[in-house]
Amino acid sequence: MTHYSIFSLLRNAMGYHQDWQQAWRSPDPKPEYDVLVIGGGGHGLATAYYLAKEHGITNVAVIEKGWLGGGNTGRNTTIIRSNYLWDESAHLYEKSLQLYEGMSQDLNYNIMLSQRGVLNLAHSLGDVRDTKRRVYANKLNGIDSEYIGPEEIRELVPIINLDPNIRYPVLGSSLQRRGGTARHDAVAWGLARAADARGVDIIQNCEVTGFDIQNGQVKGVHTTRGDIKAKKVGVVVAGHCSVLSEMAGFRMPIESHPLQAMVSDPVKPIIDVVVMSGAVHCYVSQSDKGELVMGAGIDAHTSYSQRGSMHIVEDQIAAVCELFPLFSRMRLMRQWGGIVDTCPDASPIISKTPVDGLYFNCGWGTGGFKATPGSGWVFAHTIACNEPHPLNAPFALDRFVNGNLIDEHGAAGVAH
């Protein structure tokens, strides 16, 4: 693997940039692997990377039915934060944020992490109290978090509408200064390149059509490119996890919904933090290209169609225009949908399953991007050691049987 640096850039500039190596190979699948990871999004690639890096397991393949990072990894609004209410979530997302902070150096790939600060607005007395409670809970967990009033919000976001007479006035906000955004494609590509360099095979255009399960033990998978044997299989397929669990013979507490996002025309820098509101449901940041990146809520109905309904976009835009009236004359440039796997308690499942050697990492719902490295890190541990890391032990599938749910609806609002 060529080490990326200012010197490699200069050297390649001399050769008119004709000699750059491929970032990763495209090998044919081998007949057998120690670990197969199904799903070549950020979480799957992170799982393979940390299996190789932390556990020395390099006979690993990531199989992806489409192209790398082409699902929700390429469709999200790239927001990163760790200010969750409950201890279990806070520790997991904080681990992820810490991994993000060292990721560009670790992967030798610029993921363009921008810790510009994330605001979660409060619009009512109840909101204010919940927000303060969450801020205090974050502080007790050692996570940077602060509560700010309208005057400080005005300093950070001069264009926000602080009129007390709007339908949902802005009364205050939490602020996590270490939160921000990262370049989503770079996260996928950087992880793929680093995993490949450690010997992981990344196999695209290879769809799983079934599992080979004998006596309750997984032996391999059937794919559109032939059968592949594997000692262990990790499934990280977001919206399609119910489809794969059905192939394996059990059900998941998951429903798949469309989630939409959109970008505006590119404009000059106008907002340099991330603003989120769970109550009126919108989240806005500005990309390096100048587009406003905005996310909507999920459609109520389940769907695998990767497109949502227009009235959801209308609701989202109405909320944005009330908070930022000057955006009302901008135009949307693109709008798209992805399929998210929502869990009843809005927390993920990173777990062993009823089948030995088969592991599932799913249920991230609307907020998986921020967890990418942490999710891969704990899932790699779960697969390598055949038992969860203390960080993801609370996120086991059996919590739906024993009742230890991690109800993050209230903490995260609806926006993730």
Partner: protein, 102 residues
């Protein structure tokens, strides 16, 4: 956005309706005898298929009545509409229904 044929009001926009999730989940007759795993299965586990899905909708901004819909979750095509208490149609690979019973 797709159109849903309400059995009473005819074809209307999806935004007039509210979603009632998976249909035909029967509340256990003798709840006290259920194990934790059986409760989890009733409360949380869902089929969530990619393809034909039996689900409930209510025409919130119309007649406010509930009914069942068979919808292909991959294409959002409505395959059948049938009343509460009715059994789902057997062959769901048929042509999608246009319009509704008057």
């Amino acid at each position: 956005m797709f159109l849903i044929p309400c059995p009473w009001c005819g074809e209307r926009e999806e935004s007039e309706f509210s979603y009632g999730h998976e249909a035909h989940i029967v509340r256990p007759e003798d709840p006290e005898k259920l194990s934790d795993a059986e409760w989890a299965n009733y409360l949380f586990m869902r089929t969530n298929p990619k393809g034909p899905h039996l689900e409930r909708w209510v025409h919130t901004a119309g007649c406010r009545r509930w009914f069942n819909v068979a919808r292909n979750t991959h294409t959002n095509e409505i395959l059948a509409v049938y009343l509460m208490g009715e059994k789902p149609p057997k062959n769901l690979a048929k042509e999608p229904v246009k319009g509704a019973k008057s």
